[in-house]
């Protein structure tokens, strides 16, 4: 069962020209990760996105960064992005406040395909900030809940203080036929949850392998081990979708910064059916 992902053309006549976006709020999720909510300029009327797509956020005078959209695709009027503060753009953006204006172009890239999951169980595996581009997928799954079987989220973070969307995770876990299992790599004795890598969590779920579709996003090494674990449990490569990441610049497949073997992550990805990229996972210098 291999379904292509939806590769969507960049919107607009001028895909490299940013729209203006006004910051509605900045919420710190952890010490180094924040969620920024944006109101789009009227010039972006009709903007829509699909789960798994990303925008280029432009801090004027500093630069651009490719950031996945973390909000509900059904409410495109307010866009949220959850951002790990690591470089000049994301650090500068972190200092912005309500009312400040930034540039935004997008949405770009492929999306998590929902059709293959219809009538099947869904297993989502997220590592660290990799939960952010998966959040819109959950909103979409929950919106048409009856179309899907069980929904399982296995989520790993560095420590309890690094967990994203805690309140929302609890809300998801309370839904019928939804399992949310969280683990952290390290903790002190105040944490009563699981400690260890995210792949350990497979021990605590029962997968109906032939009837499961898996969506995976996180650091590449984590994805490599997760894919191996899924295979070990009988989930074939054709049932798995992963989101890849490289340094993106133009976002339209022109500059070549994000080349990954024969693909450009910005244009052909970031979401790929696993069989398309399995042979490239963690190949050196790609």
């Amino acid at each position: 069962m291999i379904h292509d992902v939806d590769v969507l053309p960049a919107r607009g006549v001028e895909p490299l020209v940013p729209h203006l976006a006004t910051i509605r709020r900045v919420v710190w999720e952890t010490d180094d990760t924040y969620t920024i909510a944006l109101d789009l300029d009227p010039s972006a009327a009709g903007y829509t996105f699909k789960p798994g797509q990303f925008n280029m956020l432009y801090v004027f005078g500093v630069g651009e960064a490719a950031i996945s959209i973390s909000s509900d695709p059904a409410t495109s009027a307010v866009l949220t992005h959850t951002i790990h503060r690591v470089g000049s753009v994301t650090s500068s953006l972190a200092g912005h406040k309500r009312g400040d204006v930034i540039g935004l172009r997008g949405p770009y890239g492929s999306s998590w395909p929902l059709t293959p999951a219809q009538g099947r169980d869904v297993c989502v595996v997220a590592g660290g900030i990799g939960l952010a581009p998966l959040r819109p997928l959950f909103y979409s799954l929950f919106r048409e809940r009856k179309r899907y079987g069980r929904i399982i989220l296995l989520y790993g973070a560095r420590s309890p203080l690094d967990l994203l969307y805690r309140v929302e995770l609890e809300e998801w876990a309370n839904r019928q036929h939804v399992e949310v299992i969280v683990t952290v790599d390290r903790s002190d004795t105040s944490w009563k949850g699981y400690v260890g890598v995210v792949t350990n969590l497979f021990s605590y779920i029962k997968l109906d392998a032939p009837s499961t579709v898996a969506y995976v996003c996180g650091p590449e090494t984590m994805m490599k081990y997760t894919v191996a674990e899924l295979e070990r449990r009988g989930v074939g490569q054709g049932q798995v979708y992963i989101s890849m990441e490289r340094n993106m610049k133009c976002a339209v497949g022109s500059c070549g910064h994000c080349q990954y073997g024969p693909y450009f992550i910005c244009k052909d990805g970031p979401v790929f059916p696993l069989p398309q990229v399995a042979h490239l996972l963690e190949r050196k210098e790609l």
Binding site: G127, D185, S187, Y194, T199, Y204
Partner: protein
Amino acid sequence: MQTEDLTTLLRQHPFLADLSTEHMDILVGCASNVKFNDNQYLIREGEIADKLYLIRTGRVALEIDSSERGSIRIQTIGPGQVLGWSWLISPYRWHFSGCAVTDVLALALDGKCLRTKCDNDHDFGYEMLQRLTQVMERRLEATRMQLMDLYGSAEGAGR
């Protein structure tokens, strides 16, 4: 508890999946059904390692004591998993402490009893060793991944 009840419980644990009746009959003599309360220690670093625990329900956190950082939780062991193989390796001392973080039901296999039976019946011993080394291999793989501190790096930053 009746031996046959214990055998049923042992059979339900993934570590002993498909174990032959002959080997199960050998093993059951070393087994007991145990319960621990939340916050109770199953094993303590430095003490004699005399048990192999097969966790049925609940969670056990493995801890290392550090003078600088206090007790650090490095891993949790949950339902269907195995705790402790130091009973197999001289000098038979625990290298970690294991604290129940919920109420825990487990099957305890006596280490000395198991060692003796493994020595007396090498087929049984090889079977046990094969199963334990699989657990060790998976645990080692997970530890390596944990050491990489994947989420602490810039990798995945721009998601």
